[in-house]
Symmetry: C2
Amino acid sequence: MSGAAGLRVVVIGGVAAGMSAASQAKRRMPEAEVIVLERGPFISYGACGMPYNLADPTRDMEDLVVLSPEHARTKRGIDVRLRHEVRSIDVAEKTVRVRDLDAGREETLAWDRLVIATGARPVVPPIPGRDLPGVFLLRELTHGVAIDRFVAERSPKKAVLVGGGYIGLEMAEGLRERGLEVHVVEMRDRVAAGFAAEPAAIAEKALARHGVTLSLGTRVESIEPSNGGLRVRTDHGAFDADLVLLSVGIRPNRELAEAAGIALGETGAIAVDDAQRTNVEHVFAAGDCAEARHRVTGKPAYVPLGPTANKQGKIAGANAVGADERFAGIVGTAAFKVFDVELARTGLTLEEAERAGFSAFESGSEHGTRGHGYPGGGRLHTTLVVEHRTGRLLGAQLAGDEGAAARVNVYAAALAAGATVHDIEGYDLAYAPPFAPVYDPILIAATVARKALDGRG
Amino acid sequence: MSGAAGLRVVVIGGVAAGMSAASQAKRRMPEAEVIVLERGPFISYGACGMPYNLADPTRDMEDLVVLSPEHARTKRGIDVRLRHEVRSIDVAEKTVRVRDLDAGREETLAWDRLVIATGARPVVPPIPGRDLPGVFLLRELTHGVAIDRFVAERSPKKAVLVGGGYIGLEMAEGLRERGLEVHVVEMRDRVAAGFAAEPAAIAEKALARHGVTLSLGTRVESIEPSNGGLRVRTDHGAFDADLVLLSVGIRPNRELAEAAGIALGETGAIAVDDAQRTNVEHVFAAGDCAEARHRVTGKPAYVPLGPTANKQGKIAGANAVGADERFAGIVGTAAFKVFDVELARTGLTLEEAERAGFSAFESGSEHGTRGHGYPGGGRLHTTLVVEHRTGRLLGAQLAGDEGAAARVNVYAAALAAGATVHDIEGYDLAYAPPFAPVYDPILIAATVARKALDGRG
């Protein structure tokens, strides 16, 4: 095809990155033809909201859809095709082979620009019984709908959650709120992967306070039917369950790209530059199927999170129709709550820092969250990861009663600026008794780290 | 005196800056003699907590004392002398003339190092009736105690608050909580000095929702006794009151320094360098009596706030005993709440920016504070002040239902780094439905400002 008027942009995947790409392409070039091919029955939903939605039986899981296909078609002029699965990409011919799952037909669709936004899928541990009824994953909205329906219709009494990461912990709260007994099984020696020991311990205490039991250092070996329910066998005993959730991690949906000869990065996700271009001309990738440059290491990383997917998608869509936008990169900022505590992290953990070649140390501190004598509030623990020689901040993890998610963004800004703990100590932060003590926990944490640095320097 | 062992540090003023200085000097040099001369009956209190404390009749105002004189003496080895008023400083002789207000005696006290931490005092408008019983100021803990007692013992029904700044608005809430009818009289055309029109309007709506009435553009002319109470006459009518609060600003207590020949800055407060040194050798100043370097303008400014007082005091105390600490400067970050809304600001307002010689514009945006479909939360309005040519952030003001005080610190970090709105747009901020939408209001505000910049650029 020649000429902008006839430009066809095909987007594979219609969730965060895909719909951001499609919307941006159409907005920048209204005359372009923008087609979204989505394998599932939904587009544009806030998957991160599923555990919180589940907690409240009065909320419909489909409320998490931000943009309906009808709205996308009529208001945004995007040709959204649901239940259309792309089977292959031909980068030489500039086509995709796509299957209409309902009609059972396949066709070849030509494109001028292709945006791959195929997302990620849950890792399924290769254990017997993983496909039994009552065993769930949680990634796509269809998963959330299935769990919600199962809870409503079958009134399960006991849940075993395999994996104590973000999803596992959020679901522990969600299912507890729905009245289930919840047991979490985690292979590692603590929950909350990506967090240091102290913040993980704060999450573990919150689970215990809310009646969630926990097996650490425990590996699931099989799931079996048992008395009309399920029995989860581990290397440290067996647990009865009516509902089992497997949430042990996710991996990028890269196979379509890989089969088409599009380069993957070292992380195993699709390699992109900061314009979201793959190694193949006119082919872009964005979101959970792609890498992103980590601003602390300067190297590609795989940290699949919603904001990154939205931003990368927007940039891919813009650049697909001729813009020259650049993605600023990530620092891996994330937050979640589990019952009455908040956890948040940004940058590198000590382990990640050392793996990236930094000589670094961890500095921990704990402080109150409000002004002297102001009622309410609580404690906040901060772990800073700091480069030895320079004092440069490499990462921060926060956990406590309030203010973790809010404060982590200050560290994200500090990481973007390459700030040292000495720089952070000099930040002029707000003090007001309802919100913070006169020395904000951020300043306390920086001072504690700077003193450790001076002591070691 | 010669030799560190005999070094005597005299600190004038025993609240935030003074006690920070004294504590730091004694910690760094335990053999030094550290004397604090405090005119009032209290030291080391969190004055900012007074309006919030007042709201709750079960809380004792004196709970705001962080460190008792006994504790300072016995645990920290500081010679705290309450109700000791310094009458003059002799920098040539290195002495102060001090009056013991209870004993009625004066003496001359020698010092090797002097830290001036005399604080600030409320501006009292020169109107007839300003000294009548029932007319209050709010600055020192004694003021808070007096108001608390008056409310408890006299059960006033109506309050008129003259001045709609931080203190006036916080006190509107505090007195309303204690059951009073509250009317605020403000000379300017909006409340919340230092905020743009939109955040001020959000505060004004909160007042109205909570039954506080408001006269803008109104000047108080006199206060008169009336039917056992008071009558506040203005250029737009008269208002009955049982309690009147005058809170129209503060000014530095600089007279002692001025009379001793210590240089004042252009702002009228005591001039200091970043080591908190005045122009006189061995004489330091810190806190609300002193200037601070504003990091956005690079020039001295007078923005008297608690965190600055604490930090400057600490540095003055350290340097008084031979350290070489430097104050990083301020960006003027402040936050407060009025009923159910939060207001926060950092950096320069548009007016301040223009006065400082910047060519700048204001960019406003409003956004939800939580994830799609997550219950609760609310709206947050952001005003950014941005330099025209460069896109550099010069200031930010936030107002709304939640998250203003938390988010302002991200802008404070951005100001410290000299970030542009384009830089801020690239921040990797936390997304989790309970805490923030996928595009945090900070990112939305930066994008809106960047687009305005591009449009004008």
